[in-house]
């Protein structure tokens, strides 16, 4: 099937739902600084959710960011992989039982890979992306069977 070639170019898209930007800085370093070049895997940060394949979500879904997240997740085309970056989206992290966050990402969308850490290391992002690519391959096949 074509998915064997298609997985060679996963496009990443970052959604920040109120994170402290620790993980976002790490995400930025994976792409831009020469040391952890994510482009080697064929990845590229895209500007629009409609081009996204692997969605990297950071931040504990705060009350204000909730409906933005719901609307954004609807705009991402189907064979997609959701990666929760950092402990905040996975479980709310340090802010777990605070009044202003709406709980882990699982409530809104079916997450595929969790990369925990506060903040995560660029290498673990590369790990997460590698795992996401593997999952994405099966999703592509399922998408085309359906």
């Amino acid at each position: 099937m074509l998915s064997k070639y298609a997985i060679k170019s996963p496009w990443l898209y970052r959604i920040n739902t109120g994170s402290c930007n620790g993980c976002d800085v790490e995400l930025a370093t994976t792409a831009l600084i020469p040391r952890y070049d994510v482009e080697r895997l064929g990845c590229k940060y895209t500007g629009s959710p409609k081009h996204a394949d692997i969605v990297l979500v950071t931040g504990p879904i705060t009350v204000r960011a909730e409906d933005y997240l719901i609307r954004m997740l609807d705009e991402i085309p189907e064979p997609r992989v959701i990666v929760a970056i950092g402990i905040c989206p996975i479980s709310g992290g340090i802010f777990r039982d605070s009044y202003s966050i709406r709980g882990p990402l699982d409530k809104y969308v079916e997450v595929d890979v969790n990369v925990s850490g506060c903040p995560i290391r660029p290498q673990s992002i590369l790990d997460g992306v590698a795992q996401a690519i593997a999952i994405w391959k099966d999703k592509i096949n399922q998408f085309h069977e359906a």
């Binding site: 074509l2 998915s3 070639y5 298609a6 997985i7 060679k8 170019s9 996963p10 496009w11 020469p34 070049d37 482009e39 080697r40 064929g42 590229k44 940060y45 895209t46 500007g47 629009s48 409609k50 081009h51 394949d53 705009e75 085309p77 189907e78 064979p79 592509i140 998408f143 085309h144």
Partner: protein, 319 residues
């Protein structure tokens, strides 16, 4: 009437036209991305990266914004640019390899065909109804309006120089033949400013960082392509690759068509070599230049390239 002979269909679909140009363009785009990465000290993507981008987009789901203003225009927009570029490649002669389509490979037709990708971006962006797209469409129009002047002046300078004083040569084949006999224009001192102006025009048309404004990731993210996904987006990527090839061919037709060897294969290698060198030069500028703001770019484009091209036009006319 239509002379759709087998050779012209072959030329359109396979060799210097469709498949070869698309693949060569995509590879050149990847080469440019690798060169930029290497200039920044990174490894950069594998060379087949852009090809797999297209293949990946093919399998993606196509999203259509529900309050899109005109679905037909939203779907037809990418095809405009694609068709324009395919025709442009078909009529452009590659020295020593492909002779263009004789009478019809004409400069004025080329000018209007090269404006089609910008038109397709504009139509697509404004038909999608998104605000980011609207802002980037207005930027694209301002830029297009600014860099077209220098391109037109360069065009006429080359046409007049190829006419060698007594007339004007509008056919592209004529320009190439003139340079083959009298030495290519790059070596002609009168044409150096025009060459610089054309390079600036190339950077502006290809949206390479000094002019990476309409799709600037900083403020309008993906600009006019914001609402596209799946196959229409793949068409825009293919059009971008074809536009790179068209610009390289036009650069070589205008300024350095020198035929190296005799058989087609050697000329083709010479053509690919020259294109690769130019692409790496573009990558160098890409890696080491920040982007203009729109009004800075507009002022820059309205002064520097126009003066350069007017200088060489003056030299051609009065020297």
């Amino acid at each position: 009437m239509i002379t759709l002979s087998a050779s012209s269909v072959f030329a359109y679909l396979l060799f210097p036209g469709g498949l070869f140009a698309i693949l060569f363009g995509l590879i050149l785009l990847s080469v440019e991305r690798i060169a930029v990465a290497r200039f920044q000290g990174r490894v950069g993507p594998p060379i087949y990266q852009n090809i797999f981008d297209i293949l990946k987009l093919r399998i993606k789901e196509v999203l259509i914004p529900e309050d899109v203003t005109n679905r037909f225009m939203f779907a037809i927009a990418p095809v405009f640019g694609f068709v324009g570029m395919m025709t442009a490649i078909f009529i452009l002669p590659v020295s020593g390899v492909y002779g263009g389509t004789g009478a019809n490979s004409d400069l004025i037709v080329l000018v209007y065909l090269m404006a089609l990708p910008a038109v397709s971006h504009i139509l697509g962006g404004s038909a999608s109804g998104s605000t980011f797209a609207a802002i980037s469409v207005s930027r694209e129009v301002i830029l297009m309006f600014a860099y077209e002047i220098s391109f037109i002046i360069v065009l006429f300078t080359v046409a007049l120089e190829a006419g060698a004083g007594e007339g004007v040569v509008f056919s592209l084949k004529g320009i190439v033949d003139y340079q083959v006999i009298h030495g290519s224009f790059i070596s002609n001192f009168k044409m150096i400013p025009a060459f610089l102006a054309f390079v600036i025009f190339m950077l502006a048309t290809l949206e390479v960082p000094p002019f990476h404004i309409a799709e600037n990731d900083g403020d309008v993210m993906k600009g006019y392509l914001m609402e596209y996904s799946g196959m229409p987006l793949a068409f825009f990527e293919i059009t971008h690759a074809l536009k790179l090839i068209v610009l390289l061919t036009v650069l070589q037709v205008f300024f350095m068509p020198g035929i190296a060897g005799y058989n087609v294969f050697f000329n083709l290698l010479w053509f690919i070599g020259k294109s690769a060198v130019v692409v790496i030069g573009i990558a160098l500028i890409h890696a080491s230049m920040p982007s203009f703001r729109v009004d800075q770019a507009f002022k820059f484009l309205m002064t520097v390239p126009i003066l350069l091209s007017l200088m060489s036009l003056g030299m051609v006319l009065f020297l």
